[in-house]
Symmetry: C2
């Protein structure tokens, strides 16, 4: 049995990961400041003897004894990470530095959840890990993108200078139950809008593309990455690519919604297309997504239906 810390473990992805690790019988410690995470996501473990919750912030140093660190803490949706850009940068810089300092001190393995956003508005398609990206250092998305880029660089530096055993996942758009209903991401927005028969809001013409992965696939990928030997960045995503307009129609149909589709203004620096090349993950981790977008959407729609029922 291992002692495993998950920073950001009360959030969407982190709580599913906690479920998997708890089911495997490990001791799980979650460190979360509840900025976008919720206690309800982990409530079902609170009385388990192998589970602990630390309410705290990764920008503060912390001294523990652990074997593995899954470092997820960071707001992930554009409205949330843009809410306080300075704090977002501190979370990625000071936060990652602290977790690397901890990993170095106790000899723990550490995995960073980086993002496809480090490719920016990509000029190669699909994106492979050796693409250096096209990122605006001075725009509304920069606090997140540049924060994650330098967090990757820190991982690389601690690996080379201090022999810290690192893992880096570049995660592409992921969805599923426990997404925050108000986090403003496209899946939660479109599903909730459809279920409420309110206008489905497309930013711009809807010709931009994204590729969507269901959360259980991501969790399996993170687990495979941590437990494998590969120490450089690996894309984790589902290559099933949609335009945002197609995606709106898909969700509208699946919910038998009467919503109209409404085009709003394009947001600044919104990437035009995004799709992972996952051959590296296949080769190094023997991993690939198993859940189709439609299957995943069906479960997610059910989840939000329940949320709406219970919140009215």
């Amino acid at each position: 049995r291992k002692k495993i810390m998950i920073t950001g473990g009360a959030g969407f992805v982190g709580s599913h990961l906690a479920d998997k690790l708890m089911m495997e019988g490990h001791e799980v410690i979650i460190l979360d400041n509840f900025f976008t995470g919720q206690k309800t996501n982990i409530d079902h473990w609170m009385s388990h003897p192998h589970f602990s919750l630390i309410v705290g912030d990764v920008v503060d140093p912390i001294h523990l004894e652990v074997d593995e660190i899954y470092h997820l803490a960071c707001p992930a949706s554009p409205p949330h990470y843009q809410f306080n850009p300075v704090k977002t940068i501190k979370t990625s810089t000071e936060g990652t530095m602290n977790m690397l300092g901890l990993a170095k001190r106790v000899g723990a393995k550490i995995l960073l959840t980086s993002t496809s956003e480090i490719y920016g508005d990509p000029q190669v398609h699909p994106q492979k890990e050796d693409y250096w990206g096209n990122v605006n250092p001075m725009g509304p998305r920069s606090c997140y993108d540049e924060g994650k880029r330098v967090a990757e660089t820190m991982m690389y530096a601690y690996k080379h200078s201090n022999n810290v055993d690192v893992r880096i996942a570049r995660i592409f758009n992921t969805f599923g139950p426990r997404m925050h209903p108000n986090d403003g991401r496209v899946v939660s927005n479109f599903v909730i809008q459809s279920l409420q028969n309110k206008p489905i809001t497309i930013y711009g013409e809807g010709e931009q593309t994204r590729s969507f992965q269901y959360v259980s696939d991501l969790v399996d990928g993170l687990h495979a990455l941590m437990n494998g030997k590969y120490g450089a960045p690996v894309n984790l995503g589902n290559p099933q690519e949609f335009t945002v307009a197609e995606f709106a129609t898909t969700i509208k149909e699946m919910t038998a919604s009467k919503s109209e589709i409404k085009k709003l203004e394009k947001t600044a620096d919104d990437p035009n297309k995004r799709k992972p090349d996952i051959s590296l993950a296949k080769q190094e981790l023997n991993w690939e997504p198993k859940v189709s977008v439609k299957e995943g959407l069906a479960k997610t729609i059910e989840y939000f239906r329940m949320v709406l029922l219970s919140t009215g």
Copy 2:
């Protein structure tokens, strides 16, 4: 008279800037950890009543009352910034955060010396400020490049969230007296090798280009930027472009050296070409370089001749 802090003020550029600000009659406070800076660069001011030196590190918080901060602290030559990549990243992230926290608290203007390295191995030529760059987040140069990129992002974030009055200079290769003789940059290497009739070491075929500016021009540019109103990044450099091989020949001829020219292995991720588009600086700051590369080199060669005489 203003109270002006210069971080990294005992270094090459910082000490020249200190000279200019002292001559203008300001109070100057230097904060430097002497990693690559030297006390001899500022010795001539030590007994002046308006001059103070704090031996300290920008990664530690510091509380002062100042009107302006020129934030230069950061090793600048590849061998120095690669010596301890983790420390280089801490200097750019924690260091810049501390200086921004200070600027915010006391309402000081703050100028960051960023770099042409944030353009990486550029795919547009010459480079304009709106180019997003082509940077490897995971390589030997990343600790410097990504550190400076996120430092720019921090400046942008504090400006937008906290109304901090910021200035960002993107400095292209600069040379002149007081460069550290062992810092491994091309100008000091080639000049010293030529003066000692030792082989001039070209990394790769010497077809890569750089554009070189004399330090007095840079200091004038930094001063104009701080005292102007323009708050977004501005290139400061001299567009006079040389291949490294041409540059070797130029220096060999100017020193009447008997050195042979020796090709060594190419270094990883070495940018292929670099040249500033300085129309923005001309327009916003009414600035352009005044010293030709040959004039600047003549002064620099004289300086290194003296250094070699005095150190033997």
